[in-house]
Subunit: 325 residues, 2 copies
Amino acid sequence: MATIKDIADKVGVTVTSVSRVLNNRGYISEMLKKRVQEAMEELNYQPNEVARSLIRKKSNIIGLIIPDVSHPFFGEVTKYIEYYADKNGYKLLLCNSKLNKLKEKEYINMLKGSQVDGIIMGSHTMDTKDYTSIKLPMVTLDRQITDTIPYISSDNYKGGELATNLLIKKGCKKIAHISGNLHLNLLAKLRHDAFKKVITNKGIEHIVLQTEINGFNYDEYEQLVSSMFREHPDIDGVFASSDIIAAQVLKECYRIGKSVPEDMKIVGYDGIQLGQLITPGITTIKQPTKEIGKMAVRLIIEQIEGQDVSKENILPVKLIERQST
Amino acid sequence: MATIKDIADKVGVTVTSVSRVLNNRGYISEMLKKRVQEAMEELNYQPNEVARSLIRKKSNIIGLIIPDVSHPFFGEVTKYIEYYADKNGYKLLLCNSKLNKLKEKEYINMLKGSQVDGIIMGSHTMDTKDYTSIKLPMVTLDRQITDTIPYISSDNYKGGELATNLLIKKGCKKIAHISGNLHLNLLAKLRHDAFKKVITNKGIEHIVLQTEINGFNYDEYEQLVSSMFREHPDIDGVFASSDIIAAQVLKECYRIGKSVPEDMKIVGYDGIQLGQLITPGITTIKQPTKEIGKMAVRLIIEQIEGQDVSKENILPVKLIERQST
DNA sequence: TTGTATGCGTTATCAT
DNA sequence: ATGATAACGCATACAA
């Protein structure tokens, strides 16, 4: 690969001058500028960003730690994060933690070693102090770690209310809420809280289940849903904490011959694109993945640039009614 | 952030010695080794990988260019690529090209500038010479660019045969194949070729449709499928080139009141995890995403290490019969 | 307007 | 067994 020295030699000047045209700073004659640019073209020169990072103390890389890109919700968020990062001249280093504490720690060290300029944390299984000691611009998704680390989440409480109220309005008499794991300290827990509050207020029979702490296991969901229906055959409404789980519920309904929405009404969560494909369409609470991604990148960059950013960033959710209710 | 110099100062030696214990090379007394390690612990030292990359001329970063992580197939492949990259001490830089030629070019330049050690190309919209001029370890997914660039694909022809034969065996009289765009020069075209051959051999009525060239647009799929059924109401079997499209077909069947598999049989492609969730289960040709990811990483690393690698790497597919046939 | 010298954090080659 | 010094490719303060 050609270096700045090669260009300089070719043009017959020093690297300083080449660097000047490269960065468009300081005085340079139009003549020189042109000759340098030609030489760059000819040698197909690409500045070595590693060297630049070293001297600038800035890598223009953002680290992203999420549980699993292949989970549709995270896949969508990742797509948008990458899009906005690129748009702003940043690159994205992808890390799948699989909600594993050790892995998460290793990734954070790796990212620090790689001199990333900031970290977007979509996976948080560690203890608070492990995050506060990171000393790097950071944004978390769906978890409030301290009041110093900015977080982004959608309005989980509102989402929980919308979902629960809808099921009640539609006449459900016994409603199950299948939550993600409540020990992860995620803000998603607020969906559960809203569910509890609304449903006890209205005095409606209900149960709450939660998934295992480690990752997204479709087989586990299947087990969970199937045993739920076995133990509570009188359930006529389910508020699931993801569209994936909702789809699993729908599938089980088919299997045991419950018709949706007549015998059973289902509300999912996330509003993933794939939800459109399932029949009957699953009513869901849509999280604004695009805005989440956009804001995550913006907050990271603002911190990198030394600006103050707002710590609490709650984006609106939207109820999308389809045929499952 | 602490540097190697800080450690050296703290211990009272030169950076040379610290570097020695860091890399475990050359002579170092056990005593020194221990003191250095303690100092590293205390200062929470992380070697600066940027500086290392610069002098070693090796970044330990692999670039991945795909159309879209949020597409389930690529999401799964990406997950495994990241997994195996990490396992082998490499980091992953993610790029979503959206099948855009210009974007792809920009990403390639960016990756070269970033000194990545190799590129996994899952998006290929450029011309052959644009790839051959890259001069970097490379592996392509599902496209044979030249006989010098190794590629990985699953057995598309076999997949096409399996799907087509199954539909015929199940008694379909008029079969549609909905293909990805055939001008992209993807090996996925072989699915189409197999379809054509099998079906003309058996003299069965058929039609072929293809999707637009740019990206994965659910609305476009919907249009396509719906107009297909309008124009060819007598179709009783569909071989779709992805599970997403197959799900779209299924959805349209519900909408227009065709029952599956009685009036219409559907075979998808990819075997994405989400396929399990849809009811009725969509029969599909499963691509070995995990093996694809694993092999992609292996082939890149072997090239980085200067080894010769096999150019043609075709992995087996598997027919998974579910209720849609 | 251009060049010289220095340094970013690390590794590698010689010395000692 | 340890240290001094150069080098990786680039950017910048200071000279000229």
